[in-house]
Amino acid sequence: MNAIEVEALEKTYPKGIRALDGVSFAVCEGEVFGLLGPNGAGKSTTVKILATLTTADAGRAVVAGRDVRVDANAVRQVIGYVPQQSGVDREATGRENLTLQGRIQGRRGPALRRRVEELLERLDLTAAADRLVKTYSGGMKRRLDIGLGLVHDPAVVYLDEPTTGLDPEARVAMWAELERLVQEERLTVLLTTHYLEEAERLTDRLAIVSRGAVVVEGTPDALKSSLRGDAVTVELGERSAEAAAGIVAALAGVEEAQAHERVLRARVADGRKAVPEILSALEAGGIAVATVTVARPSLDDVYMRFTGRDFRAEDEAST
């Protein structure tokens, strides 16, 4: 059974802002599924609908077999929602935050106490458990936020931009933390992010969202392979790029070769096989080579390919 099924969700906000324009995707049990897109693509709105905080104008969403519109209360019991903006109570301790959240979700007594203890341990908050949250660092608060979403062993966890607002060091630490948690707690996760690197590192499958709709869906590797091949960049010793491009373009397995001043860029089916061939062909042609790099296409390239727009430019334009 799919943990989450989303079909053609539409939502327009009061001022005529079209947030969702037919979003559809499905998340399997036990996987980490990513919604990747620039700010304003509709990721958070989708998560809010799945968390029963708001309703869609059209379309259907089912979480763990329960319809979010018809059976909102049943959905609330099986989800753990970690919102983009921290929802911790600053005037309470970490332990109190977790305990109250557990009680709200219907957990009681020694079982809840053990669960809180276990989470504090896993989130590395045991030492700070009885300190007021307002004394916590940003990373600690974020870890507590995640704990609040996990305290009742939910069937599905929503992580809405889990590392936004953290400095790069804390972000990398959080990634390691999340990877470990997903293992230890065997979580099903819906993760939204506008960091390509984060989606690549954490998700099993992902959907690229742009302007309220899913543009393409698949595993990070499959998406990148769909661009077919690797990018080879050769820096030449002299300004003989035009001749080099002619030589390389004639090779088998090379789909495209372009030259600009001293740099030759080629798109090849398989970088590992192509590089030695390119190098020997250039040597035979008497052209000296300074450096060679092979790169798998990045999710940036995927985004560009499927939306025709540059990810970073889009992300910055909407913030």
Partner: protein, 248 residues
């Protein structure tokens, strides 16, 4: 949910200190300032503190309850509310825990005030039941104004606007009541307006317990109005909360 509110308050020592000192300051200031007012006709007692105590009890309760919407706005700003709403916690409990907290604060203040007034010579003439009525009046008026405060807070969703509203209505509502002055000394149009003022309902109920003869049917009438008022403002606040949810 109520436990969370309680713990947050106990962690603020300055808040507790003010909670205790404020009634003392009020009762001594007012009773000194207006001491000779009882020489005017219309007061049935010649001790102003005897007259004033119920008024101050109600005033203290309704002032502090008027600010209670602030807490809801803090929870809104800090994302706590959104976190609660994604759980199965009863929506009713989110609102009612805030109202109950206000009522409990109102009762604590009432106990302190009546205790101080007792030390200064004021007496609750209606005995134990009279004390209960006083505390109940404080609890109910707190609940009425906690409901109003939350309604305003959830509609305007700005702490500054809430402050403006509360500052605007707090003193006029006090003056449109018999908190500080006997009914006969008020202009007739103000007497008339006071009948629609929940603050006055609470004062009227509370004062019966400290007058020479206690009219229990009057107490019943005023407390009944207060219960109706509490229910009405609680419904209003719940309604405001629902429309708040819809805008998320």
């Amino acid at each position: 949910m109520l436990g969370r509110q309680g713990r947050a308050l106990m962690r603020q020592p300055i808040w507790i200190a003010i909670l205790i000192v404020e009634p003392i300051v009020w009762i001594t200031l007012f009773s000194q300032l207006f001491r000779r007012i009882v020489e005017l006709p219309g007061f049935e007692t010649d001790s102003y503190i005897q007259f004033l105590t119920p008024g101050i009890v109600v005033m203290a309760a309704f002032f502090s309850a008027s600010w209670s919407g602030w807490n809801m706005l803090m929870d809104h700003d800090r994302g706590v509310l959104e976190r609660f709403l994604a759980t199965r916690v009863s929506r009713f409990a989110i609102v009612v825990s805030q109202v109950l907290r206000s009522s409990i604060i109102g009762v604590i203040k009432a106990l302190l005030l009546v205790g101080i007034a007792h030390a200064l010579g004021a007496r609750v003439t209606a005995g134990f039941a009279g004390w209960l009525v006083l505390l109940l009046a404080a609890a109910l008026i707190s609940s009425v104004f906690a409901g109003i405060s939350h309604t305003i807070a959830l509609v305007v969703r700005s702490q500054d606007t809430l402050v403006a509203f509360v500052s605007f209505y707090a003193l006029p509502l006090t003056f449109f009541s018999t908190s500080l002055i006997a009914e006969e000394l008020m202009p007739v149009w103000m007497q008339w307006a006071a009948r629609f003022n929940p603050v006055n309902w609470a004062v009227m109920a509370a004062r019966e317990t400290m007058s020479t003869t206690t009219d229990w049917s009057a107490i019943g009438f005023w407390l009944g109005l207060l219960v109706a008022g509490s229910v009405a403002t609680a419904l209003l606040a719940t309604h405001a909360f629902r429309s708040y949810q819809r805008t998320l």
